[in-house]
């Protein structure tokens, strides 16, 4: 039983990490229908910015957090302007490739600016580093911070989409961009907002998780893969689905590693994904499939 609780906890905390990245995907996809292949690099780059502020320049943690999120937002808006808005009507592959280009630029920049600091940069945790007891298992407090952060961000955005005008405008744009424009929604601003928010979420995720994951220029890709998987698994237009997807990926990894063998950990999420998609082709909480004829 103890083994199970530990594995579950570890799966849930890693799952929260993936869920956070997945949230960023879903927000962007909800409004634009595009998968941002640079989401992992947003995460990485804003993490480095936060490192620079907090560790190198000694700026206070909360100020760093706020600044990183703002920087992330700006980075997202910039990406929209450069790589999305001009080609918004292109086919999916071209859009994907444009975000891939942005990903390479960010990665190369990070490697040039910070790569020579060598190795993997440590980021001090927001909480005390000593493990604490929760029930009968030990956890590292930062992991609890990540869980809390994920919950907060999820609730924030569910509220955003349900209750604010901007959120409803985003959903309208996702449903039918032309109709949205007809009723006076500035769709190009919505796109910018979506990208900005997606990147801001990545920044928040980075600051929360950097103490656990360490920072290096190539960290973006692994998170992209798992985050994308989590987002699609949950159904690309569902925010709770993103977090659910993340949890499933994280728990699948953890359980497979604990009960089968650690060598299948990398494989298990993908087996789960292929199984889920065969049974539910639009993800777990995705919309019922309507086909455009």
């Amino acid at each position: 039983m103890l083994l199970f609780s530990y594995l579950l906890m570890s799966g849930v905390t890693t799952g929260a990490l993936y869920g956070l990245v997945a949230l960023g995907f879903v927000v962007v996809n909800k409004a634009t229908g595009v998968i941002n292949f640079a989401q992992g690099e947003f995460f990485m780059f804003t993490g480095f910015i936060a490192w620079m502020l907090h560790v190198q320049l000694g700026i206070n943690y909360l100020v760093t957090f706020a600044f990183a999120v703002a920087f992330g937002f700006a980075l997202g808006c910039l990406t929209d302007r450069i790589a999305f808005r001009p080609i918004a009507k292109s086919d999916v592959v071209s859009l994907v490739l444009a975000t891939v280009g942005i990903a390479f630029i960010l990665k190369g920049l990070a490697r040039t600016i910070w790569g020579g600091k060598a190795d993997y940069l440590a980021f001090p945790p927001i909480t005390s580093p000593d493990p604490i007891m929760v029930g009968s298992i030990m956890v590292i407090p930062q992991q609890l911070a990540v869980l809390a952060g994920t919950a907060v961000i999820l609730l924030l955005f569910v509220a955003f989409f349900r209750f604010t005008r901007a959120g409803k405008m985003m959903q309208a744009t996702a449903d039918n961009a032309r109709a949205a424009r007809l009723v006076g929604i500035r769709t190009d601003r919505i796109y910018t907002l979506a990208f900005g928010i997606g990147a801001a979420i990545a920044a928040a995720a980075a600051v929360l998780t950097a103490p656990l994951t360490l920072l290096y220029p190539d960290i973006g890709f692994a998170f992209f893969l798992k985050g994308f998987a989590a987002a699609v698994l949950g159904g690309l237009s569902s925010l709770p689905g993103a977090v659910l997807g993340g949890m499933i990926v994280g728990i699948a990894e953890s359980m497979a590693g604990g009960y089968i063998h650690s060598s299948v950990m990398e494989l298990s999420p993908f087996i789960v994904i292929m199984a889920v998609l065969v049974l539910r082709p639009s993800g777990l909480l995705g919309p019922a499939k309507t086909r455009r004829v």
Binding site: L7, T13, A118, V139, P211, A222
Partner: protein, 394 residues
């Protein structure tokens, strides 16, 4: 080779020779009256850049220092870099470009193991003297190619050192946690062979991904076997995750690292949980860690030439290797040919560099010139100690 095209080839060769200018005067490619062109290959981009770009930076500051003192027999050294992108095809292309296009005289380099191993044939065919600075794959140096030497601690050397250390420390239940990428596997295979030869059976054999963020499952499985020593074949990031989770779960065996985690101070920071690295010991290819005052000179040179960088162990790999190359170049004399440089490598015996823990010794039959790993430990919050320098004979 291209028999039917020989006449066309000859004409073209003549044209190219005329166009090649000063370089056409020298009999040897890459050597002129006042310069020697050295090529270097490794990953400049992608995650392998730690074993490519950073050692190259170290090589460059050594060459700068030599040039400032007048060069070697009056010739200044130039460094030409090529990116192998940690990929077999790009590595072969990089070697071919350096040899046939950039016309370098000799090579120093080799980061990602698979890439260098794949390119070994191209290097051998080109007959260009080559010194490996970071690739650990045994197949690169065993069986030895006439023109390839290495100052990197190869996988089997380090693996043997790890097992010997575990035994010396009295471990009875040895387990392993490793990464299944090319680097990890290059060490895994020799480890298993050495364990078999010594009749030791692992109590657990776990795998951890290079990008892992959580090692709870692995730690629980290791703990269940009551292992008292764990051989870690991991890069710093998964290693930090493992040690952190081990501490969290109360699992405190002797943790045995290798030269992938060569900076215990940086590692302690990466783990981030106080006291977790108390029973962590690791191998280093170099005797000093970057904060050591003995490295002040190199720190200044690297941080001046590459603003924003911090001196790291990866730079030190390149520095040590470059010093061996420079020594061999000196011994090859002023009438410089590739054969002479190759022969000069074999004469290096008991040579001390600024960074290597033990003397560097190459021979005709064994082109692995560095067999003296240093064992490092760091008490949490305390200074780094060099526990021992072992020399592996085999």
């Amino acid at each position: 080779m291209l028999m039917s095209r020989l006449p066309r080839f000859a004409a073209l060769a003549a044209a190219l020779a005329i166009g090649a200018g000063a370089h056409a005067l020298a009999a040897e490619p890459g050597v002129t009256a006042d310069s020697i062109r050295i090529g270097t290959f490794g990953a400049l981009t992608g995650p392998g850049y730690l074993y490519g770009k950073l050692p190259m930076n170290g090589v460059e500051v050594v060459l700068d220092e030599v040039n400032a003192a007048g060069g070697i027999h009056g010739r200044k050294l130039q460094l030409v870099r090529e990116d192998d992108r940690c990929d077999a095809a790009s590595a072969i292309a990089a070697i071919q470009k350096l040899v046939h296009q950039d016309q370098v005289f000799a090579l120093i380099g080799g980061g990602c193991s698979n890439a260098t191993f794949a390119a070994r044939e191209a290097i051998e065919t080109a007959k260009i003297p080559t010194l490996i600075f970071a690739s650990v794959h045994d197949g690169i140096t065993v069986p030895p190619a006439p023109n390839i030497y290495s100052t990197a601690l190869t996988s089997s050397i380090e693996s043997e050192a790890q097992v010997l250390f575990a035994q010396q420390q009295g471990a009875k239940r040895i387990a392993m946690i490793s990464m299944k990428d090319a680097w990890g596997r290059a060490r895994y295979a020799p480890l298993m062979e050495i364990l078999k030869a010594k009749g030791i059976a692992l109590v657990a054999d776990e795998e951890l991904s290079p990008d892992a963020n959580d090692a709870t499952a692995q730690v629980l499985r290791l703990k269940a076997t009551n292992a008292d020593a764990v051989i870690m074949v991991l890069y710093p990031k998964p290693a930090a995750v493992y040690i952190r989770d081990a501490q969290k779960l109360g699992f405190k065996p002797l943790n045995i690292g290798q030269s992938g985690i060569a900076d215990p101070a940086a590692f302690e920071e990466q783990v981030g949980v106080p006291g977790a690295t108390a029973s962590f010991r690791t191998i280093s290819q170099v005797k000093f860690t970057p904060e050591d005052p003995a490295m002040d000179k190199w720190r200044k040179l690297v941080e001046t030439k590459f603003p924003g960088d911090r001196l790291s162990v990866y730079n030190l790999f390149g520095i040590g290797s470059a010093q061996v190359l420079v020594e061999a170049l000196k011994r090859a004399g002023s009438d410089l040919t590739r054969e002479k440089l190759q022969a000069a490598f074999a004469t290096i015996k008991g040579f001390n560099t600024d960074v290597h823990p033990g003397p560097v010794t190459c021979s005709q039959s064994d082109h692995r010139c560095h067999k003296s790993p240093a064992w490092l430990a760091k008490d949490p919050g305390g200074p780094i100690r060099v526990l021992a320098v072992t020399t592996i004979e085999n």
